[in-house]
């Protein structure tokens, strides 16, 4: 599961990810990170089974946690061209039986790359 972590000016200075990883014996994969002196936003991936436990620990260290359950969304603006197929790192888009482009949401790691590729502006990453 993907978790979005929001750090404030205090928590951003502490090594929170390392602490949580060690204390919860959890593997934490950083997907996306934006860290500034007074603020930070990091998206991490953890196993579904331990997600709850890990989220609680982050909160304890003063980090705001939001579960990112929603993956890429394709709107009705799509014309089924397929430009998105070859740019997605995990192969979320495929040409289906009837030649429509199908979205395999579970594979999405929310990297956001496809959003800036679709010529019809049909792809959105919901918060």
């Amino acid at each position: 599961m993907l978790l979005k972590l929001k750090y404030d000016s205090r928590s951003v200075r502490a090594p929170v990810i390392s602490k949580v990883a060690i204390e919860e014996n959890a593997l934490i994969n950083i997907i996306e990170a934006k860290v500034e002196p007074r603020f930070g936003e990091i998206v991490v991936e953890v196993d579904d089974e331990i997600a709850e436990r890990v989220a609680e620990k982050f909160k304890k260290y003063g980090v705001e946690v939001r579960k990112l359950t929603k993956s890429i969304e394709k709107s009705e603006k799509c014309v089924d061209c397929g430009a998105c197929i070859s740019v997605c790192p995990t192969g979320v888009f495929e040409r289906g039986e009837d030649d429509r482009i199908v979205v395999n949401e579970v594979k999405c790691i929310r990297c956001g790359f496809c959003v800036g590729v679709c010529p019809l502006n049909a792809l959105k990453l919901p918060e």
Binding site: V79, D80, C81, G82, A83, C84, I85, S86, V87, G91, R95, D98, D99, R100, I101, G116, V117, P119, L120, N121
Partner: protein, 493 residues
Amino acid sequence: MKTVEEINEKIREGNVNVVTALEMKEIVAELGAKEAAKEVDVVTTGTFGAMCSSGAFFNFGHSDPPIKMQRVWLNDVEAYTGIAAVDAYLGVTQLSETLGMEYGGAHVIEDLVRGKEVELRATAYGTDCYPRKEIVTEISLEDVNQAVMVNPRNAYQRYRAATNSSDRVLRTYMGTLLPNFGNVTYAGVGELSPLNNDPEYRTIGVGTRIFLGGAKGYVIGEGTQHSPPFGTLMVKGNLKEMKPEYLRAATFPGYGVTLFVGIGIPIPILDEEMAKATAITDDKIETVIIDFGVPRRDRPIVKRVTYAELKSGKVEINGEDVRVSPLSSYYMSKKIAEELKRMIERGEFFLTMPVERIPQKEVFKPMRQREIKVVKSVMSSPAITISPEASIEEAARILIENEINHLPVVNERGELIGIVTSWDIAKAVARGKIGKVEDIMTRKVITTTMEEPIEIAARKMEQHEISALPVVDKDNKVVGIVSSEDLSKLLAR
């Protein structure tokens, strides 16, 4: 042997046999071309892809007092007015002066076809017969006298596929190309595409009635850059009758605006030859993959492929499987072929024979240029260089004495290993750093060569926000240096 008149008679009687190009492949495989030619009267084709060479002529009617429009904008997108007073041509790739790539001529056309109003703004110099100098008003498709789509180049028979050997993401008219051969993109729908089903252009020519953007349209000649087997068509149709589903504005990120146009062409099966032609399959349609990593007109060919390979979703390049994206919509193309089939079956669409054939041979010539200016003609040579062992002080002295800002760092063999700028030295001094040039130099140097066109060198500087490039030979030895000032003197002219 059948004639188009006989086929039209069957359409009138309601017993015409129409199949799509995809169905025809199977029928010919099963019955053979001879039998298929007896069975089938019409084969419908379709294509739906980005077609930049598209646009529409408008006649806005006269205002009171009248104006001879010198410049005109529709929703801030400028149209061409170098024709009569209130006639204009709006091209789909023209960008909005306020929204840039987000909105362009294609969006204006889609908005109009959706029934929306757009703002018309025009300026003029004023004459005795056309005294008005300015006008701002709202118009819809209903308000204008004519709105005629005229597309100088559509329905490419086949197209070169694209990949990218460079180390940067490229944003092109062939979509987003990932670095290091990260993907391949291709346009066109191969065996479903109109011209591939009539490669000798026997039935598709001047005057052929077609499906264009959801309405009836006509082929008015070969398209610009027509160069068989990379054939193209010039087409026209009444924008007022078109449907938004088949005309979709798009933005290729980082490149610009274009219009997805839906075109369908019916092919009369006059004889066995036509049955054979329409049985063409993707594995017989060849094209090449070219490398957009080389920003020149003649981009190197990476590989020859068929549309069947491209359509499979993967091609091999340098021993690796590379994923492929189509840029034209197979789903929409099929839908168009099926819609056209229904229109003919219902007796709403009759076929025409061309009144003139389009060329079966033609070459696409490059532009006649006065000269291609290359880096060699503007660079300073030899370049003043420095050794990595030299002190920072020494570097500072050379920069000041020669009134330059960039100093390539070369090893004892004269090979480029880094660069120091006056800014690097200022920083080092400000931090109280004393030491050697190699401690402060930038090691990853962006370079150019003597034969590189100056426009490409200029774009490199712009992209990397730098103001000079060392010029190296094939052995990476520094032979000169070129600065943005050297280039701007030439480019501005």
